[in-house]
C-alpha cells in the first residue's frame, strides 16, 4: 500500500473556481518525488490541500491508510506529514533556537525537543552558529535551511517542500538541493515542487506532471528528463516560466 494516496481531489480558494480539478497520485515510502508543471497548474495548491491548510472540495487523501483530507493542519502534522511552504515562513522575531522549539510544538516533551535540536544542530552547523540570532536577520538561504530544519523537528514520515530555491542565488540553491538530497539518501519520503525542473528531476526518483489542475503524466524522473515529448510539452514551457520567475 502506498504511504500517501490522493484520489480525485478537487480544491480551490474561498468561493473561487477549482484550482485542482481532479488529482490522483500515490507516494511510496522511502522514495522522492518531484511535481512539475507550469505556473498556475495547481502544484502549491495540491501541497496545501494535503497539509490541511486548504479543505478539499472532493476526493480522498489517505496517509498510511488513514483519511487525512480536510483534517486540521496540526492533525495532519501529527500523522507525520510536514509541509515547508515556499515563502520561508519563519517566526521573524524569534531566535533560531526558538524557531526550532516551535517546530517541536507538537512533541510537548522538553527533553525530546532539546534532543532533536541538538541533533539538527549537528546536521546544520550553520544554524548552530546562529542559535541565538533573530531569524529575521538571516539570509534567504539560511532561512530556507531553518524552515527545513524546523520541519524535521518532529521526524516526519513525509516532507513536502515547495520551491525551496525560489529567489536564492545559484550557489545557495545548490546547498539547499544537497540538503534535500541528503534527506532522500537517509530514506525519507520527499515530495518536492521545484521551479528548476532539471535540478528537481535530478534529485527525485519519480515525477508527476501537473497541468490545469490535474495530473497529465507520471514516470521515472530520468525518463522525463530525457523524453522529448514531455520536454517539448512541459519542460519547454517550464523553462520559459522559470525564466520569468527569476526576473
Amino acid at each position: 500500500m502506498a504511504l500517501l494516496e490522493v484520489e480525485g481531489v478537487r480544491a480551490g480558494y474561498g468561493s473561487g473556481p477549482d484550482i485542482l480539478t481532479d488529482v490522483s497520485l500515490e507516494v511510496d515510502s522511502g522514495r522522492s518525488y518531484c511535481i512539475i508543471g507550469p505556473n498556475g497548474a495547481g502544484k502549491s495548491t495540491l501541497l496545501k490541500t494535503i497539509a490541511g491548510l486548504l479543505r478539499p472540495r472532493g476526493g480522498r487523501i489517505t496517509f498510511d491508510g488513514v483519511e487525512i483530507g480536510g483534517r486540521r493542519p496540526d492533525r495532519v502534522l501529527e500523522a507525520g506529514v510536514c509541509f515547508v511552504p515556499q515563502d520561508r515562513t519563519i517566526f521573524p522575531e524569534m531566535t533560531v533556537r526558538e524557531n526550532l522549539v516551535m517546530g517541536g510544538y507538537l512533541l510537548r516533551d522538553r527533553k525530546r525537543v532539546e534532543a532533536r535540536i541538538d541533533d539538527l544542530f549537528d546536521r546544520f552547523p550553520r544554524l548552530a552558529e546562529r542559535s541565538s540570532q533573530l531569524a529575521q536577520t538571516m539570509s534567504g538561504g539560511e532561512q530556507q535551511m531553518l524552515v527545513m530544519a524546523r520541519a524535521l523537528m518532529i521526524e516526519p514520515r513525509l516532507i513536502m517542500i515547495d520551491e525551496p530555491s525560489l529567489g536564492l542565488a545559484p550557489q545557495i540553491s545548490n546547498q539547499i538541493f544537497e540538503i534535500i538530497r541528503g534527506l532522500t539518501e537517509l530514506g525519507m519520503t520527499v515530495l518536492l515542487i521545484e521551479q528548476n525542473v532539471k535540478k528537481g528531476l535530478e534529485i527525485a526518483d519519480w515525477a508527476f506532471v501537473l497541468d490545469l489542475g490535474t495530473k497529465r503524466f507520471e514516470g521515472s524522473a530520468n525518463l522525463i528528463l530525457d523524453d522529448p515529448r514531455i520536454r517539448d510539452l512541459y519542460l519547454g514551457k517550464l523553462a520559459a516560466a522559470s525564466g520569468e520567475d527569476q526576473t
Binding site: 491548510l53 493542519p73 496540526d74 511552504p85 519563519i90 517566526f91 521573524p92 524569534m94 516551535m102 518532529i154
Partner: protein, 293 residues
C-alpha cells in the same frame, strides 16, 4: 518650571501610564494574534470598572480583590464572545474591517446596557488608599495610583512570562509573528485565538478594576478611552506589546506635561498629535513591522 516640579509631573504621568499600558496591552494582543480591532475594549473596561465599583459600594469588597475576580470572569466572557461571534466572519477576506464594525456594535450594546442599568452618573470607588498619598522627599505620590500602577506592572510581567515561557504562550507569540507558519508547525490557531481573546479581555477586566478607584467613569466614557488606546496601539506598532507599553508610558508622561503647561483640556491632544506625527514619519509604528504586500 523647576526640576522638582518636572519630576513630580513625570511621576504622576508614569503612574497613569502604567494603567494605560495595561489597558492597551489587551487591545494590541487581540490585534496581534487575531487581527481583531476591538473597538469595544474600552466599553468592557468600563464594565469591569462598574463590577469593581459595585463590589466595593454594595458588598464592601476591595477593588484589588475584584481585580483578581475580574480576571477569570472576563477571560471566560472573552472566550465565549470569541467563539460565539467570530467564527461566522472568519475566513472573510475583509475580516479585520468586519471586526471593526462588529465590535463597534458590541461597544454600543455594552454602553446601552450600562446606561440603562447603572445610569449615566459619574462613579468612583473610594477605598481608603484612594484618598491618601505618600510623600517621598519633596514628591507627592497618590497611594491609589501607585498601587494601581504596581498591579498593572505585575499583570504585564505575568503576561510577558506567560508568552515567553509557556507552551501556549509560544503558540500565541508564533501566531502573532506568522499565522501561516504557526499553523504549519501544528499550532491550533483557533484555540490559541480563543485563549488570546480571553486574555485580552481579562486584561480589560483587570484594568477596569484598577480604573474604578483612580478615574471617575460613566458608561459613555469608553469612547474617550478607546480613542486614546487605539492611538497608543498604532503608535507602538499594531500588535506590538512592547510598543504599546512604551507608547503608553511615554505619552502619559507627555500628556501630563501638556496638561500642566498648556492646560488640562489639551492633555488628550498629546495622544492624537503623537499619532499624526508617527503616521507621517513611521507609519508602521515604533515597533511595528512594515506591512507586507
Amino acid at each position: 518650571m523647576t526640576v522638582a516640579a518636572a519630576l513630580q509631573i513625570a511621576i504622576l504621568g508614569l503612574l497613569l501610564g502604567g494603567v494605560y499600558a495595561l489597558m492597551s496591552s489587551g487591545l494590541t494582543l487581540m490585534f496581534g494574534v487575531m487581527r481583531v480591532v476591538n473597538l469595544a475594549h474600552g466599553a468592557f473596561i468600563v464594565l469591569a470598572a462598574y463590577f469593581s465599583f459595585f463590589m466595593w459600594d454594595l458588598v464592601g469588597i476591595d477593588p484589588f480583590v475584584s481585580m483578581v475576580l475580574a480576571l477569570p470572569l472576563f477571560f471566560l466572557l472573552g472566550a465565549v464572545v470569541y467563539r460565539v461571534f467570530f467564527p461566522r466572519i472568519e475566513g472573510s477576506p475583509r475580516f479585520t474591517e468586519m471586526t471593526v464594525l462588529m465590535t463597534f456594535g458590541f461597544a454600543f450594546v455594552v454602553e446601552g446596557l450600562m446606561s440603562y442599568y447603572f445610569t449615566g452618573i459619574f462613579r468612583t470607588a473610594s477605598p481608603g488608599y484612594a484618598r491618601v498619598s505618600i510623600t517621598v522627599g519633596s514628591f507627592y505620590i497618590p497611594t491609589g495610583q501607585l498601587l494601581a500602577a504596581g498591579a498593572s506592572a505585575l499583570l504585564l510581567i505575568s503576561l510577558w512570562a506567560f508568552l515567553k515561557f509557556t507552551h501556549t504562550g509560544y503558540g500565541v507569540r508564533a501566531t502573532m509573528q506568522n499565522r501561516d507558519a504557526a499553523q504549519i508547525v501544528g499550532v491550533d490557531v483557533r484555540r490559541v485565538s480563543t485563549v488570546a481573546f480571553g486574555i485580552g479581555m481579562a486584561l480589560a477586566g483587570g484594568a477596569g478594576a484598577l480604573i474604578s478607584f483612580i478615574l471617575p467613569f460613566f458608561p459613555a466614557r469608553h469612547w474617550q478611552w478607546i480613542a486614546i488606546l487605539l492611538s497608543l496601539v498604532v503608535l507602538g506598532g499594531m500588535g506590538s506589546l512592547k510598543g504599546a507599553v512604551i507608547g503608553a508610558l511615554g505619552l502619559a508622561v507627555a500628556s501630563s506635561f501638556v496638561g500642566d503647561i498648556v492646560g488640562l483640556v489639551w492633555a488628550p491632544i498629546t495622544f492624537f498629535g503623537a499619532l499624526f506625527v508617527i503616521l507621517m514619519v513611521r507609519p508602521q509604528g515604533l515597533f511595528g513591522k512594515k506591512a507586507r504586500v
